[in-house]
């Protein structure tokens, strides 16, 4: 037992810095997913038929193909053909970002569609353009409504990032494996890795719950309007 504790103590800083890499991957992926996903949601609700179809195919593709396959496909295939020599960490970030964008597009689309359609007409009678209405009326409400589902998506992406090792990105899981291979203490090391994931998830979900509370408009909810 003291031997195991010594090994864990030894490995902890190494695993924790893997946690930083994981956090970096997830932050990047969620940010990319937010930008892409939000634009796709708006396009899918208000865009022309062609736009809707293209976005539909994108969402269908990234939802339908396993992340592991996407990682190989893009890292060894697409990025290589495009002449992009991305590092493993950035490749994982981009692929996870594009994947979560598909899911986030659905989250935001659902939130936009849950708003009463009359708001759009009301805004246009006030002389607001479509873009003004989307930016100033629709999105501020839709984004607030999306936070719980978005926080779900965050915890899923965080755990999906453990797949990054197949490309050699030195995140938590990869580092746990290295330490376990050297010390032959698989179980204790993986428990520590699991705890680090748990803490990261908990911190992120808590922060988003707090954000939800902070941005809430007192007395307003879209229920029953």
């Amino acid at each position: 037992m003291p031997e195991i504790i010594a090994i864990i103590k030894d490995a902890l800083p190494y695993l924790l810095s893997g946690g930083l890499i994981t956090a970096g991957i997830v932050t990047g992926a969620m940010a990319l997913g937010l930008i892409l996903g939000l634009s796709m949601a708006v396009g899918r609700v208000y865009g022309s038929t062609a736009v809707k179809r293209v976005i539909g195919i994108y969402v269908w593709f990234f939802q339908g193909v396993p992340i592991l396959v996407l990682l190989f496909l893009f890292y060894f295939g697409v990025f290589n053909y495009m002449g992009l020599n991305l590092s493993a960490v950035s490749a994982v970030t981009v692929v996870l970002g594009m994947t979560t964008a598909a899911y986030q597009a659905n989250i935001f689309r659902g939130a936009i569609l849950s708003l009463p359609q009359g708001q759009f007409k009301a805004a246009s009678t006030l002389g607001m353009s479509d873009i003004q209405t989307i930016l100033a009326i629709i999105l501020p409400q839709a984004l607030r409504l999306s936070i719980p589902a978005w926080s779900n998506e965050f915890s899923i992406v965080l755990k999906d990032s453990a797949l990054a090792f197949v490309l050699g990105a030195p995140e938590i899981m990869a580092r746990a494996k290295f330490v376990a291979s050297r010390t032959y203490q698989h179980l204790p090391i993986y428990i520590v890795a699991g705890l680090i994931y748990f803490i990261l998830t908990w911190a992120g979900v808590r922060a988003l719950a707090r954000l939800e509370k902070t941005v809430r408009i007192p007395g307003y909810s879209n229920k029953g309007i």
Binding site: G83, G168, R182, Y184
Partner: protein
């Protein structure tokens, strides 16, 4: 017609330019390692790549005027990573096999390795029990022993079941858990396992010994030449004996 030629011409120019750029940048190389392969390659307490192959490669790089960086990759995809230029070479206990020689070039051999069966320390199993007694044997995916065992079992009518693992330490873990009866692996990692866990080496199982070499892309003739020269100098030096002793390889 002229337009078409122009496009081809630009294509060739672009290829030459990018190709030329790479040749000029040549001195910094990335070595892909399987960090789950102690004592040849692993990640040490400080989190830096270490092991017999890593230290040997550092010496060679210094000797031959290269700057080397070691990056850990999944063993399964390491040849793909080499071919798609994510890494420039693999110096990480890679056996020279005919299959691999079709895709990559190898330096001259630097280490001879035997494949052995590892079993629980208190087990009384014999090799015959393992091969013909309907037992499950673990192997690391993508290794030469995995391929050999599968083919030999079919040819000789052995009824052993193979179970594939990501790394041989994981297979050792499953021996201790009782899920598999034995694991086949290279002798050096097997010794490392038997030093650290309650397993022992049963012995070889009929597979011919293999040679380790450094793998490089076939078109990198200069790198191959430099690595061969570096290996030759290293193996003639005292540092080589020191390394062998340090990692307890003989």
């Amino acid at each position: 017609m002229f337009k078409k030629n122009l496009i081809v011409w630009f294509g060739i120019m672009a290829l030459l330019l990018t190709g030329g750029g790479q040749a000029l940048a040549g001195k910094k190389i990335v070595n892909g390692i399987d960090a789950n392969f102690p004592p040849f390659a692993f990640i040490d307490q400080k989190g830096t790549p270490s092991g017999f192959d890593v230290e040997a490669m550092n010496w060679i790089a210094k000797e031959m005027g290269y700057e080397v960086e070691h990056k850990a990759y999944d063993w399964d995809g390491i040849i793909t990573s080499l071919l798609t230029k994510k890494i420039d070479m693999v110096a990480s206990g890679m056996s020279i096999t005919p299959d691999r020689l079709e895709k990559v070039a190898f330096t001259s051999p630097y280490w001879k390795i035997k494949q052995v069966m590892v079993i629980k320390k208190d087990s009384a199993l014999t090799l015959d029990d393992l091969l013909k007694g309907n037992k499950t044997v673990g192997v690391q995916q993508g290794t030469s022993e995995a391929k050999w065992l599968k083919e030999a079992a079919e040819k000789n009518g052995w009824n052993l079941q193979l179970r594939y693992y990501d790394s041989s330490p994981l297979a050792v873990e499953d021996i201790l858990n009782g899920r598999i009866a034995a694991a086949a692996m290279d002798d050096a990692p097997a010794k490392d396992a038997s030093d650290k866990k309650d397993v022992k080496i049963l012995g070889t199982f009929g597979m011919a010994s293999e040679d380790f070499g450094y793998a490089v892309r076939k078109e990198d003739a200069q790198l191959l030449k430099d690595m061969n020269e570096g290996l030759k100098r290293l193996m003639a030096s005292d540092y080589w004996k020191e390394l062998v002793k340090k990692y307890d390889l003989k």
